[in-house]
């Protein structure tokens, strides 16, 4: 009965030993299907790498970008992936701060998406460089050649913001993994034991260690939120700082952050559904999780359509000739198909699915999320390309069409992301085992004694033999 979905979501009504067995199984057991998947992903991703090397040796001219559309697929992908990376932050940090216990099985999935999406997204500022081998000039290091980054440039702000966010997200991801790695260490043998002994840092589980870990996580949750907001705001300022019609808009900061959280939650839902199927975690990632995330997604969808409406209304009402050229090309001209597809994918299709409780099932939210991920990619594309095609002087208007080079590299990075995630699920339990069981909170001793016989959740163990035998 739907008496208490939230309570249901985090009561572990089966033995903790079963939890450990289920969640540690992928770490200890590698199926043939897994090897096949990894090989397939590497095979599909390698062409992207090869084509990228081709682009470096031949020149950026093999891509479709041209004058005046000097940014195309690569920057679209950059913004897209950095946007996806906002999934983990919202789920882990905000929900942790408001003590929403249903987040527990979901946090590590989300935090992993953040780290890997950032890693992939951070490749694109390098991929799109004309002289990519000199990307390190963005790092402020002392140099005798007078090379120094320009702190007034939004691209340098990008460098600082993404580095900070990556450091923070890695910390946020890795700190709570330590106790789970200790769990693997205690069950492993041979080489695996030696590796995880090193990884577990000698964790024992003393109150001091737990307390410091919890404090560190709380501090990190508070820090990572403003960092995440700032990262995508700064990415949006790559566009807003340039006097390009329809780029130079003050709404870009909040607009991009909302879009990032939106696409991030959608990606999270898709990843959770896949992980649930592949690792047989149906009892851990329950419909209630997808339902709650679906509600969040609904809110973000409404927020997104609000920003789209606000931005387009302002441009249309202002009726400035330069902006209207880009505006109409998006809404009625060359990009109309993409624009209306985007509106459908981001709002028209997901809204009914997510708003109607009966439809907000796992399948429903996954369908909505899939359309949203496509729609958000289109949104990034429509932000980057049409305004560049119609700048101030009509004589210089141009058009952009991607080449096979850009498409292959894009595809390669998608494969790379999936590969990183698949490898992650192998070496780390994808659901945080200790967080799932949750800390034992204060309760009166008499009640605890009474509960001990009735509610097995308080017991950390039962009489079944451990896997150590």
């Amino acid at each position: 009965m739907a008496m208490n979905d939230a309570a249901q979501a985090n009561v572990i009504d089966f033995a903790p030993e079963k939890i450990r067995k289920d969640l540690l199984l992928p770490v200890f057991h590698t199926s043939r299907r897994y090897y096949a998947l990894v090989i397939a992903l590497v095979a599909l991703g390698l062409p992207g790498m090869a084509v990228y090397l081709y682009q470096i040796t031949e020149g950026m001219g093999v891509a479709g970008i041209t004058r005046p559309v000097f940014w195309g697929f690569y920057i679209t992908n950059f913004v897209f992936w950095i946007g996806i990376s906002h999934a983990g932050t919202l789920i882990s940090a905000i929900l942790r701060l408001v003590n929403a216990t249903w987040r527990r099985p979901v946090t590590r999935c989300a935090e992993a998406i953040t780290v890997f999406a950032l890693a992939i997204g951070a490749q694109y500022p390098i991929i799109h460089l004309g002289r990519a081998w000199l990307f390190f000039w963005l790092i402020p290091y002392p140099s005798e050649r007078g090379i120094w980054p320009n702190f007034r440039s939004p691209l340098v702000w990008d460098f600082f913001a993404i580095s900070t966010y990556l450091t923070g997200s890695l910390t946020f991801l890795l700190l709570p993994i330590i106790p789970d790695w200790a769990m693997v260490r205690d069950r492993a043998t041979g080489l695996r034991q030696r590796i995880y002994t090193v990884l577990a840092l000698g964790w024992r589980g003393t109150p001091r260690e737990w307390h410091r870990l919890e404090v560190a996580m709380r501090i990190m949750a508070v820090i990572i939120l403003p960092v995440a907001v700032s990262v995508h705001t700064i990415v949006s300022w790559d566009f807003a700082m340039a006097p390009v019609p329809m780029w130079h808009s003050t709404v870009f900061g909040p607009y991009f952050v909302a879009g990032a959280i939106f696409s991030g939650i959608a990606a999270l839902i898709i990843v959770m559904a896949l992980v649930r199927k592949a690792l047989h975690l149906e009892e851990y990632l329950k419909p209630v999780h997808f339902d709650n995330l679906g509600k969040l997604l609904l809110v973000m969808s409404l927020l997104w359509i609000y920003f789209i409406f606000a931005e387009r209304l302002t441009v249309w009402y202002g009726n400035q000739p330069a902006e209207m050229a880009a505006f109409w090309s998006i809404q009625r001209g060359r990009f109309a198909v993409l624009f209306w597809t985007m509106i459908s994918c981001n709002f028209l299709i997901p809204f009914p699915i997510l708003a109607i409780k009966k439809l907000r099932t796992i399948a429903g939210t996954v369908i909505a999320s899939s359309t949203i991920v496509v729609g958000m990619w289109l949104e990034r594309f429509l932000i980057v390309v049409p305004p560049l095609e119609h700048k101030y002087l009509p004589y210089d208007w141009g058009s952009y069409s991607p080449t096979w080079v850009e498409i292959t590299i894009t595809f390669g990075t998608f494969m790379g992301m999936i590969l990183l995630y698949v490898l992650f699920a192998k070496f780390v339990p994808i659901i945080s085992i200790w967080e799932l069981k949750g800390p034992q909170h204060s309760q009166p001793i008499a009640e605890a004694a009474a509960n001990a016989t009735v509610n097995p959740a308080i017991r950390l163990d039962n009489t079944l033999p451990s896997t150590n035998g």
Binding site: G146, W148, M183, G205, A448, L460, T463
Partner: protein, 181 residues
């Protein structure tokens, strides 16, 4: 890196649930004078944080929440120094902006402030927990099997049997000794 082991003679019990563990812990604390125990030598280990009453969670104190803001301030100062000093040393005007432009400098300061807080938290965590620590220390893999370990890390050998009996009385499933001396 060589982790030097501290010599230790310990005894501990593995408890199946928090109630028995709490009983044992309180009994050990109560009997600490009788057994010549240093209260600091009484250890608890678990596979989940024990925030229940009786385990001393509320007595845990750490400086970490104060260090993070300090690290943030340090980061902010570094951010200002980095942008202001370097740009003033080699002034290259761009777009009619001042050499040390306030708004962009603010952004760099902000990011380095947050980075300062993050790095300080990491460093504080490492120092406060003492991890990584690969010495051979008092531990039992049954802890990650869900058992709670309650024991004494330094014990006179003449009290050994009594402590063992106390642990069994309070519900230990096993009592073991640990030595790396």
């Amino acid at each position: 890196m060589v982790w030097v082991n501290e010599p230790m003679n310990a005894i501990y019990g593995l408890f199946p649930d928090t109630n028995s563990a709490r009983r044992a812990l309180m009994a050990l604390r109560g009997a600490s004078s009788r057994f010549h125990l240093n209260p600091k030598a009484i250890v608890v280990m678990s596979s989940v944080p024990l925030e229940e009453e009786g385990f001393g969670w509320e007595e845990e104190r750490t400086m970490m929440p104060w260090l993070a803001p300090l690290g943030a301030l340090a980061g902010g100062a570094v951010g200002y120094a980095l942008s202001a000093f370097t740009q003033r040393s080699y002034p290259l005007p761009t777009g009619g902006m001042p050499i040390v432009a306030m708004w962009p400098t603010g952004i760099i300061m902000y990011e380095l402030t947050m980075l300062g807080a993050i790095v300080t938290t990491i460093v504080a965590f490492v120092i406060a927990t003492g991890l990584p620590n690969y010495k051979k220390r008092l531990y039992d893999p049954e802890v990650t099997n869900g058992k709670i370990l309650v024991g004494v890390s330094e014990l006179d050998s003449d009290c050994r049997a009594e402590v063992e009996q106390l642990l069994y009385q309070d519900g230990a499933e096993q009592v073991k000794e640990f030595s790396n001396g």
